[in-house]
Every structure is written in C-alpha cells, then in structure tokens.
C-alpha cells in the first residue's frame, strides 16, 4: 500500500525495459484484462454491445491515429476516410468469399496503400498545411465512395457483412464479436506499447521533435514519415474491417465522414497526445459523455420535474463535446493521461509527497 516503489531494483536491462516495471502496475494490467475477459459473463449484454465493444474498437482505431499524431507528430484530419477504405475493402472481399482474417489484412493493406498517398503530401508540407491537405482528402474519399455504386453497394448505398468467422469462431451474437475485437485490440495495444521501446518508435519521436537532427543521426525522415503513415493507416484499415464486422454489420458511407475523423482526433487529444493509456481514457470520455449527459438530464427531469426545452436538451451533448475539446486544450493540454499520472504519482509515493519519483 505504501511507497510502491520501495524494494524494487532491477539487476538486468531486460527487467528495466519491461512494459510495466512496477509490480503494482503489472497487477493492475492483469486485473483489467481479467475483467475484460470475464465481462460478457458478469455484465448485462447492453454494456457489452453498446459500451465495451465500441470502446474497444474506437480505442484501437484511435491508437493508430495516436501513433501518427502523438508518435510521429503528423496531423491527420482524414483518418475516418482511412478507416472507411479498410472497411469497404474488407467487406467487398468477404462478400467475395474471402475469409475474415485475410479480408481484415486486405483492408489494412488497402488503407495503408492509400494512406501512403495521404502521407506523401506530408513530405512537402507540414503543420497547418498538412491538416488542410488531409481534410481535403477526407472529402475526396467520401466523394469517391458515394459516387461509385460498385463501391458503396448500389442505390441503397448499404452493404451487409456476410456471416464470417474468426479462427473458426462464427462472428455472431453478442460475445464472439466482442472477443474478436478484444483480441485485436490487445494486439494493437501491445504493439503501441512496444513501439516506445524499440528503434522504430525512437526514430518516429526523433522525426516528430527535430527532423533535421534525426536525419544526421541516420534516420531517413521521408522513409519514417511514410512508414508512420503506412502503419497507422494499416491499423485504421484493419479496424475498419473489425468495425464493419463486429459492430456495424452493415456499412454505409456516412459512417466514415469527417465527423469520425474529428471525433478520433478529439479522442487522442483529450486522452493526451502520444499516450497509449490516454487513448482509452479519451475514447471513453468522448464516446460516453453525450450518452451519460442525456441520461442525466432525463433523470433530473424524471425526479425533479425540471425540464429543458427540447432543442436545448438535444444540443447539450454537442456543446459538451465541443466544450470538452476546448476545456482540455486550455486547462490540461496533456490530457487525461496527465491527470491520471498526477494522481498515480501522488499515490505511488503517498504519504511522502515530496519524495523523488
């Protein structure tokens, strides 16, 4: 309970470079993982299908964006389009009878290929201009998907995902989609955690911070910028396939509009740019705050009889969403991850608050 760092000394590099060097952290991770695995058996199905599942999927996608924005420092306002490319590719492949596992990779590869095109513009421009370029590309991809019935699925512009299975388990009902998404989310999370302790991740940070200094160390800025775009687009495309198969079950162009891109950027920023844990916090807040606010208002109305005009009530979540983005940027630009680490650090050394961490 007290001073959780006490008595821990590492004698080998390997120990020190572990993902979670503190035993208390390893314990927490195990507990969370155990909870997530047991969740379908202890929680009402509602919480699985409409809370945990989207949380997992959105977090995995946001992790991909986080690698690009937080890791390599490249702005991307068209990530929704990247996810869309993956989803459409994968669904078309599955409808052609290709198994889910391959279709998922195919979606990732297609998104990665087009993501490279997005990224190519980053070789010439950066900052604000890159933001504008990716924003414009979002619109162009939207246009292409809508305009070609062969892609969007005919006049109804809706494509059903055929029944598929993952590693032999049919993806249907409430539980299997959840476990499939959880498995993939775990893989992506591990990848993102590992990135920070390998030469690949360090090269990305070097590019983000000072690309001229990176290049004199031997890091090719072009190569690593493109690689960052490729990897993050691949993750996006992969998650597009998972999103379509495990969550939406039918895809239509409006699922991948600019709103999704903005939402993901907001998640990454509210969570804390560059933080893996922060992404999960950010996604939870952005995804669930409007729903909870709605219910709170309904509860207040039910219990106190205090009602708001319908228009105001309906728009409060939107204000909250915008307000959250602004509030975090102004008051805690490092996001929820920073708030968490403040609290954690406080308790790590509690009750000796002035000890060095």
């Amino acid at each position: 309970m007290f001073f959780r760092r006490a008595g821990i000394s590492h004698t080998r590099y390997q120990q020190e470079r572990q993902l979670w060097p503190l035993p208390i952290d390893r314990l927490t991770v195990l507990a969370v993982l155990a909870f997530l695995i047991a969740a379908p058996f202890i929680l009402d199905r509602l919480y699985i299908v409409s809370y945990l599942l989207p949380l997992i999927i959105w977090s995995s996608a946001a992790l991909g964006l986080n690698l690009l924005m937080g890791g390599a420092g490249q702005i991307h306002l068209g990530y929704g389009a990247v996810i869309g490319i993956g989803a459409y590719t994968a669904v078309h492949m599955m409808r052609a009878g290709i198994p889910f596992e391959l279709a998922m990779i195919g979606g990732g590869l297609a998104a990665g290929a087009i993501g490279i095109v997005f990224g190519a513009s980053a070789l010439r421009i950066k900052g604000l201009y890159l933001a504008m370029a990716t924003l414009a590309m979002q619109y162009i991809v939207d246009f292409v998907i809508v305009q070609f019935p062969a892609i969007s699925g005919g006049s109804q512009a809706s494509l059903q995902v055929p029944p598929v299975s993952f590693l032999g388990f049919p993806i249907q009902g409430d539980r299997t989609p959840y476990y499939v998404a959880l498995f993939i989310c775990a893989m992506i999370t591990l990848f993102m955690l590992n990135v920070r302790r390998t030469s690949f991740g360090r090269a990305l940070v070097a590019i983000r911070e000072k690309d001229y200094a990176a290049s004199i160390i031997g890091v090719d800025p072009f190569r690593y910028k493109l690689l960052a775009f490729w990897v993050s687009s691949f993750v996006g495309g992969l998650m597009g396939a998972v999103l379509a198969t495990c969550y939406y079950r039918a895809i239509s162009p409006d699922q991948f509009h600019l709103d999704l891109s903005i939402q993901l950027v907001a998640m990454v920023i509210v969570g804390g740019l560059g933080s893996v844990l922060g992404v999960f916090f950010g996604v939870s807040l952005i995804l669930f705050a409007p729903i909870l606010l709605n219910q709170t208002i309904a509860l207040v109305a039910d219990t106190t009889g205090l009602t708001l005009p319908m228009d105001l009530r309906a728009h409060l979540p939107l204000m909250l969403y915008g307000g959250l983005i602004m509030g975090f940027l102004l008051l805690e630009p490092l996001g929820l991850a920073k708030i968490y680490s403040n609290i954690r650090n406080y308790f790590l050394v509690w009750p000796f608050r002035h000890s060095r961490q």
């Binding site: 421009i125 933001a131 105001l312």
Partner: protein
C-alpha cells in the same frame, strides 16, 4: 454547349465566389496577425446570422438596425474568444490550435441552435426574388447584391491593411516579438483582428442566411472559405479576392459541365481538389509569401 448558359454560370460563379471570399477574408485576417487558421469561421458566420435573427425576430428590431447591432456584438464575441481561448494557446503545437478552433466550431453549433431553436429561421433582407433579365441572360439580384457587398468589404479590408491600424497588424504578423519591443500592443492587435473577422463572418452569415435560411448548416461554408484562403495564399487579402472568383468560377463550371458527365454533385469535391493541388504544387498559394514550414 449553350453560350448563354455558360455566361450565366460564369456570372453566378463569380458572385458566389465573392460571397465565399468574404468568409475566407476573415480567415486570412486572423492568420495574418496570429498565424492561426480559424476553423470556426463558418460557425462564427452561423452565430452572426443567429444573432441577427434573434435581434430582428426576437426583439422586433428592424433589419437595418439589427445587422449593425449584431456586427457590434460579434466584434465583441470575436475579441472575447481571442482573449479567453486563443491567447492561452500561444506556443502550443499547431494541432492543438487547430483542434481548439474545431472544438469552438462544435460548441457554437450546439449552443446557438440549442438556445434559439434548431429549425430553419427566415432572414429577409428584402431583396426581391423576381428574376432580372438581361436579354436572355438571367441575373439573380440576391447574388449581385451579395457579391457586391462582399467585394466592397474585401476591398475595405485591403485598404484597412494600409491604414495605421493595418500597418500595426502587418507588423504584428511579420514579427510579434519585434512589434512588442517597439511598443505595439500585440494582444490588442490580434484581438481586433478576431473582432473584425467575426464581424466579416456575420456579414457573410447574413448574406447566405438570406438565401438559405438560418440554421447550423451555415457553418458548412467553412470548407469553401478554406479552399479560397489556401488557393489565394493564407496571408494575402488580394489573393482571397482573386481566389474567390476562381473557386466560384471553377465550382459553377464544374456543376454545369462535370456533373452531367460524372452523374453526381461535384461542387464540393472541386474545393477539395483545389486545396490538395494548391498544397502539393504551390503550398503558399497564388499570392502568399513563401515562408511556409517546409520539410
């Protein structure tokens, strides 16, 4: 191809382009002084239009009183936004500032319809809708007036940049620290830029609101304004004027010529293609100064 139709499309395109350019001019004004691209400019136009509707409809003011009053209110709103939010963001990475303006956009899009009602509101400037024929050529009065007012305001903005205050703003945009050291109140100049920008957005919101009615979708004007600002060069007022005409023409012609070929509305995608091509071929735009962060 029908020549008269082409002429009509061209004229419409030019005037519509000018109306978009007015919104883009606000973006340029802010970028010139503080290096921030304000992605809430469309939402400011919406806010301005809502304020006009509320003053005119809610308080029963005449339109000609409501509009100047709304412009004054919006000047304060713009300056307030700068004071409360943007000033704290100095020194933060670009993405943070961009996201702040996006957050503001979302917030305003919730606040105004939430307070004043989401249904489309009428904003009548009293411009007759009856068609005006020039031989076989039809001109829309609303577009002529809207484009004309926009042109006048943009020219005013260009002249303003040559006035004393304008020179101060130019100094601020060139080098904030240096401006500080010669006694220019940089914060005030930037706040004024935001105020003016919000005022221009209000005009733009009123002009568009008169055609389409006032609701949240006014904030969607942003993408066109961005295309114009980028094509013209983010720091050039003259660029905005010319890019506005070009983008308006391109969109209008695309609708007339491309749509039947593609079989879909190409209007918005034209703006996006213009943005991408500009950024790839000439990132500083037609008239911008070449001091872009390059790789």
């Amino acid at each position: 191809m029908d020549v008269i139709l082409l002429a009509e499309l061209a004229i419409n395109g030019v005037f519509v382009g000018l109306m978009y350019a007015l919104l883009a001019a606000g973006i340029v004004l802010i970028y010139k002084t503080s290096g921030i691209a304000n992605l809430a400019q469309g939402a400011l136009a919406m806010t301005g239009a809502y304020v006009v509707v509320m003053l005119a409809g809610g308080l029963g003011l005449s339109m000609w009183l409501a509009i100047p009053l709304a412009m004054a209110v919006m000047f304060l709103v713009g300056a307030l936004i700068e004071r409360v939010a943007l000033r704290r963001m100095i020194g933060q990475p670009v993405i943070m500032v961009i996201m702040l303006t996006i957050g503001l956009e979302i917030f305003l899009r919730g606040l105004l319809p939430g307070l004043f009602g989401a249904s489309v509101k009428r904003l009548d400037l009293g411009i007759p809708n009856a068609p005006l024929f020039l031989g076989d050529l039809l001109l829309s009065r609303a577009l002529l007036i809207g484009g004309g007012v926009s042109l006048a305001l943009i020219v005013l903005a260009i002249l303003f940049f040559n006035s004393r205050l304008g020179v101060i703003m130019r100094a601020v945009s060139d080098n904030q620290t240096a401006s500080w050291s010669v006694g220019i109140r940089v914060e005030r100049a930037i706040a004024i830029a935001w105020g003016l920008s919000a005022t221009m957005a209000t005009t733009s919101g009123v002009l568009w609101g008169a055609t389409q009615g006032v609701d949240w979708s006014l904030s969607l004007l942003l993408i066109k304004a961005l295309a114009i600002a980028i094509l013209g060069g983010l720091d050039s007022m003259v660029g905005v004027l010319i890019a506005g005409v070009l983008v308006g023409l391109a969109e209008s012609m695309a609708t007339g010529i491309l749509d039947p070929i593609v079989g879909g509305g190409t209007r918005d995608v034209v703006a996006s293609v213009i943005i991408v091509l500009t950024l790839l071929l000439r990132p500083h735009g037609l008239f911008g100064r070449e001091h872009i962060e390059r790789v």
